[in-house]
Subunit: 143 residues, 4 copies
């Protein structure tokens, strides 16, 4: 089973067999899986909060980076991608027990580089909490 199919088998469930220990800590529930476009949802836990009891920007950034990395796996290419950089812009707050959704898409796929975007939505997809992008580079490391 390739990575795309493996992720698809978790639709509606927590992706608790991710090969990434940190992704397992984030406990994403897989909502949809397309080649180059994922949708994962998360419940904000107490340990994700900042000193003002809102979703910590560091966790938002971590989710953005993580789900963009998973988006590269969804391409089912033989080589690993490495992240060159992330940018994250913050727009709204969220609170403990809120459900948030991360949605990714590929903006540009070149021969060696991919530029991809991740939006983090709250309130059932009606409030944009943050948006991030990454540039990723195709390594020569085989999966």
């Amino acid at each position: 089973m390739d990575a795309l199919e493996a992720m698809r088998s978790y639709i509606g469930k927590e992706f608790d067999r991710s090969p990434s220990p940190f992704m397992r800590w984030l406990r994403p529930v897989v909502v949809s899986v397309e080649k180059g476009s994922l949708e994962f949802k998360y419940v904000i836990r107490k340990e994700w909060l900042n000193p003002m009891d809102r979703l910590h920007g560091g966790v938002t950034a971590a989710i953005v980076d993580d789900v963009l990395g998973a988006t590269m796996f969804s391409l089912d290419e033989p080589f690993h991608y490495t992240t060159i950089n992330n940018t994250i812009d913050y727009f709204s707050v969220a609170q403990e027990n809120d459900e948030i959704t991360a949605k990714t898409k590929i903006i540009k796929k070149g021969r060696q580089f991919i530029h991809a975007e991740c939006e983090i939505w709250g309130r059932n997809g009606t409030r944009l909490i943050a948006r991030g992008t990454s540039n990723l580079f195709k390594t020569q490391i085989k999966k």
Copy 2:
């Protein structure tokens, strides 16, 4: 005791009474505390790893965001700062049990905005793992 003094009282120790639940999860040990410049160190735990068993970029990004936020507290100003954006550039890998250090400084402090930088170093400060910056905005929310 102001926030600067509170952080200084943890020099050499884990900052386990941070008001931020997520910072407590990161378990920083306070190395040095100056107004506008912090140094925290961390030990890479298993749950911080990516699928290739290296430090997950999302955790690096989270640390950058977190310690830049703490740097605002070190200013002992009456108002909260909110993060507008982060950028993180990745340079090197690190592994489980490695010790990494985050060092921050303020690049520009204006009347309403602060631009600050955080470097993540490994191998006893000889290898730059990542570097991030944030733009932060002084809110009217009192601490």
Copy 3:
């Protein structure tokens, strides 16, 4: 006549009465003007080239910043916006005499901040050359 109407009066023509000397140097032709979304086109001139005779990234960045600023004018708000930061990601090259198009949209409009995006397209809108975003802050400077 408000700024939106003023820009609309240039549709199909060079915006040669822009209040911005640098925008006049870029010689945009106005393609479409909506509140919060502009489309301008440009012809790549010899003085816009890099040492390899391709469109210089600095000119691309300048166009991104300029047309995002103009997008703020299209909102017809009483106050000026100032740019906090730009990010620009580069994907493809372009050459002298090529026509390129800049298309903007607002991603998030808050009370004090706007996050907006600009794409630069070549080959009749079929090749994404670059994409940039800005965070802009509503000042108290009246227009």
Copy 4:
């Protein structure tokens, strides 16, 4: 004469034989040239202004991108570097006829990627106007 020596021969003079048409338009005066670190100065011209008669952020961004590209030439390596992305953060304004200085340095040089920074200073190096960074990739295109 290699590129480093060629740039050095312009110290104190306008770099009017740059191989880049756009750099020639910017009319930098070379202040100092080291391997991986340049200092260029510029006089703000009327055509560089925004609608408020201040230095246009797009010109600042263009200078950042341009002088970071020139910094790659100063390395005297056999291959061209291409810019993956720029980030520019804006801090202060400047006016017509002001002299501004761009100073670059390399933050991290890897086998394939370079991360470099450019600061734009005004008022004789006492006011930070803007700061930018780029990730650059070593191509296989020979110079």
